[in-house]
């Protein structure tokens, strides 16, 4: 990935890849939102739960009451459509980024890496001139029209998608994945009912082949996409890989289609010019002949700094786990926001022991009395969520008249097929533990 900083910061290139990216992004987001709503998830994930697991530092983010969340999803949908249309593009991108990110911040139960990717991409799109061709904005205001974009815009999008792939590959470089073929050794035989490939999936070598193949794919695909000669074949791999993951793991939802669509950004300006030219013919759009002044799009001063900061953040964030003692998959300190996708088979159960100091009474609380099944499942394997719930529970019990309840977690977690073990020290009163960026001392060893 050799980009000369200078060319990225000051050169210009065809705007067509950026324009097509904008439209695909908008269309895919609109479809994803329809799917999300059709499955009833707006109510199930953001209205029905009585407790929400907020992110550290974002405890102030709360879902809107009543029909408010439907309104937020309507905003997401409408802004996705107007991004695709290029209508009031910059406002649309801002509205999309804010509303989408707001929803994602409500409950970490629903955290998915591709949602994080969507937040980042929509954030980047705010600053990009993706509406300066084949858009309602540029039709209404011909001065806006441009055949060129500063190179930093497509660069940043390629960089962002490249980061997703590359770090997903780096994350696979661990002994369970490479040498035990876990978790694929568990996941693949469970799909042995699939036609044609089903019987192959039961073979142990299939798990190894797909583990190594998957790691190599993630690590290398960006470089093969960047290299013009290998690009068509590499894109073929992108399509095959994502269709395969969709067939094997339908639970990953829209993600494969989003990646298949968005990785088209790696294709050349000529390729996109042809496509866009056809689209313009189809809609009988006559692009203006004159080129507007484009000096205002140069990336200078503070913006250069911002770009460097963004790139550094993206490169450092997935590596922050090295600051924690590990093992990462067991403790999950520095796990999120790092492109660790479909990486482990982890399941758990947790129950909470309550001891009321004042009365000396003891009992247990089942999380299902307060949480949705999905919340309970996600919490059971993630220490930060267990801590959050313990604090929530203490407040609930205080409201019911307990003065100083002690809460301890009895947990059992199975990772990649290993026999379950306690995750949380059952002797620790979680009420007295606080969330922070430092490592949690009350997580028990993995072996």
């Amino acid at each position: 990935m050799i980009f000369r900083a200078n060319s990225v910061l000051s050169r210009h290139e065809s705007i067509a890849p950026l324009v097509i990216f904008r439209m695909l992004f908008g269309i895919l987001m609109a479809l994803s939102t329809i799917r999300f709503a059709a499955k009833g998830w707006i109510s199930e994930l953001y209205i029905e739960p009585r407790y929400f697991f907020t992110f550290y530092g974002f405890e102030w983010v709360k879902p809107l009451p009543g029909m408010g969340m439907y309104f937020v999803f309507a905003l997401i949908f409408v802004s996705a459509v107007t991004i695709a249309l290029g209508w009031r593009y910059r406002l649309s991108a801002i509205v999309f980024f804010l509303s989408f990110t707001y929803v994602e911040l409500i409950d970490k139960t629903n955290y998915l890496n591709h949602y994080y990717a969507i937040s980042l991409v929509s954030f980047l799109l705010i600053f990009m001139p993706a509406h300066r061709r084949f858009s309602i904005d540029s039709q209404r205001n011909p001065k806006l029209f441009s055949r060129q974009t500063p190179s930093w815009a497509p660069f940043l999008l390629k960089f962002q998608l490249g980061v997703v792939y590359f770090f997903a590959g780096v994350a696979k470089l661990n002994s369970d994945w490479l040498f035990e073929a876990q978790p694929l050794k568990i996941w693949l035989p469970a799909k042995s009912n699939l036609p044609v490939i089903g019987s192959i999936l039961e073979e142990p070598w299939a798990a190894y082949l797909l583990s190594w193949g998957g790691a190599l794919y993630d690590l290398l695909i960006v470089f093969f996409l960047l290299w013009a000669k290998s690009r068509p074949i590499a894109y073929g791999f992108v399509v095959v890989f994502h269709v395969l993951t969709y067939l094997l793991f339908p639970g990953i939802g829209m993600f494969p289609f989003i990646m298949v669509g968005l990785t088209l950004i790696y294709f050349s300006g000529d390729f996109h010019e042809k496509v866009l030219g056809k689209l313009e013919n189809l809609f009988s759009i006559q692009p203006p002949v004159q080129q507007p002044d484009r000096s205002s799009q140069e990336l200078t001063g503070v913006w250069r700094m911002a770009l460097v900061l963004f790139v550094s953040w993206q490169l450092l964030m997935p590596m922050r786990y090295v600051l924690y003692p590990g093992p990462l998959f067991w403790r999950e300190e520095g796990y999120r926001f790092s492109w660790r996708v479909m990486l482990m088979e982890k399941a758990g159960t947790v129950t909470f022991h309550v001891h009321d100091q004042a009365s000396g009474r003891k009992g247990q609380v089942a999380a299902y009395e307060y949480l949705t099944p999905q919340q309970e499942k996600m919490m059971a394997t993630q220490p930060d969520m267990i801590l959050q719930f313990a604090h929530f529970l203490a407040e609930e019990l205080k409201r019911k008249g307990l003065i100083d309840p002690e809460i301890r977690a009895e947990s059992a977690v199975s990772l990649n097929g290993r026999r379950s073990r306690p995750l949380i020290d059952p002797t620790i009163n979680l009420v007295h533990q606080q969330e922070s960026f430092s490592s949690k001392t009350w997580i028990l060893p993995a072996e």
Binding site: S199, I252, A412
Partner: protein, 375 residues
């Protein structure tokens, strides 16, 4: 050129791994026949369990009709026996509260406990009630019949006279029994190959695999939900004060009036154990979860002395033994000393962990009673 390089790399890698895999444990049969597993569970366990429930429910209804016609102590005794038989049959259906049973609301019709005696008495008094209403769940089913047939602190003579002198009371008893009987028949018919044939759906090729919506996924989720909430919590934990900071709730036991809550709980746990082993109602062997786990043993990379299927059996047997050691009436024994029941709860917790976490994980089943995306 690029293609050539990539493919040759992948092929080389594949061959390398193939050669590594040769010395795999030879006794491991990775090609587990999931279909025959589901066919055994469906044909030899589930359908017979629902057939038994239907028959016992019909007999219960018939014996209650006889009792209402002639409310003497011997007919009361017969009715009570029929109630116990039907409740025992229900225990063997408890792990299978999905599909027809879930859609038809079998549990709501048959076994919501503790029963609400005030609601029952006010229904009888008014004579106008709709037993299909959700609000009447605690006023019907076996627990309501338990209340009506055993009452509290009344002699058998008095109980008989209650029905003799009160037509509305007799009518209510029969209405509850009829609801039970109708509900059991509906669920059985829905499963029955000569009826709705849900069995065919349960064992169809389209329902194979482990995804949400697959028969395995549904079964594993249903059995864990039932074991955790109905067996561990409702039958033991809640009465023993686990969920109420140690305050014992004797009237929350399953058969508070009949006094055989422990007996029901033992049968219930036996039903789960037989499902795990794939044994039919007569204890004859078949393909069960234990075989499934054995076939998947190559994926559990651990150095435990016991295989997972053996470890689960140990917890089953320990749970059943501790449960057997409790004394009926459970409501009385936990009031005297809740500690043994609390031990049963802790033991059931261990069993639940292995079934919900380890077994589900090895089988690739996601425990979620809810549909969602994941990554």
């Amino acid at each position: 050129m690029q293609k050539l390089v990539t493919w040759s790399l992948l092929t080389a890698l594949g061959l390398f791994i193939w050669s590594c895999g040769e010395d795999d444990d030879p006794r491991v049969d990775d090609n587990f026949d999931q279909k025959s597993f589901l066919v055994n569970i469906g044909t030899n366990l589930i359908v017979p369990a629902y057939a038994e429930l239907k028959d016992r429910s019909d007999e219960l209804y018939a014996s209650l009709q006889a009792f209402v016609a002639t409310p003497n102590p011997s007919n009361l005794e017969a009715a009570r026996d029929a109630l116990l038989e039907a409740r025992m049959a229900f225990q063997y259906c408890a792990p299978y509260q999905f599909g027809p049973a879930e859609q038809l609301g079998l549990v709501a019709d048959q076994n919501i406990f503790p029963s609400d005696k005030n609601r029952i008495e006010s229904n009888i008094l008014s004579g106008s009630y709709d037993l299909r209403l959700l609000s009447n769940s605690a006023a019907k089913g076996f627990p309501a019949l338990g209340y009506l047939l055993y009452g509290s602190e009344k002699s058998d003579e008095e109980i008989g006279n209650d029905f003799l002198n009160d037509d509305q009371r007799a009518a209510y008893l029969l209405d509850v029994a009829e609801t039970i009987s109708t509900s059991a028949a509906a669920v059985f018919t829905a499963w029955d190959p000569s009826g709705g044939n849900y069995l065919a759906e349960f064992t169809s090729d389209g329902a194979l695999g482990a995804d949400a919506g697959s028969s395995l996924g549904i079964l594993v989720n249903a059995l864990n939900l039932s074991l955790e909430r109905n067996t561990r919590d409702a039958k033991i934990g809640i009465p023993a004060g686990i969920r109420s900071l140690g305050i014992i709730i004797p009237e929350a036991t399953e058969a508070y009036y009949g006094g055989y809550s422990k007996q029901l709980a033992v049968a219930n746990l036996m039903a789960f154990k037989r499902l795990f082993l794939g044994e039919n109602l007569n204890g004859e062997p078949g393909t069960g979860f234990s075989d499934y786990l054995q076939a998947r043993s190559s994926v559990s990379s651990n150095n435990n002395e016991l295989s997972l299927e053996a470890a689960i059996l140990v917890e089953f047997d320990a749970s059943i033994a501790l449960l057997q050691a409790l004394e009926d009436p459970l409501s009385t024994s936990i009031s005297i000393d809740p500690a043994p029941a609390q031990q049963v709860f802790a033991q059931l917790q261990k069993l639940s962990v292995l079934l919900k976490t380890d077994m589900a994980s090895i089988l690739g089943v996601v425990i979620s009673y809810q549909d969602n995306d994941g990554d």
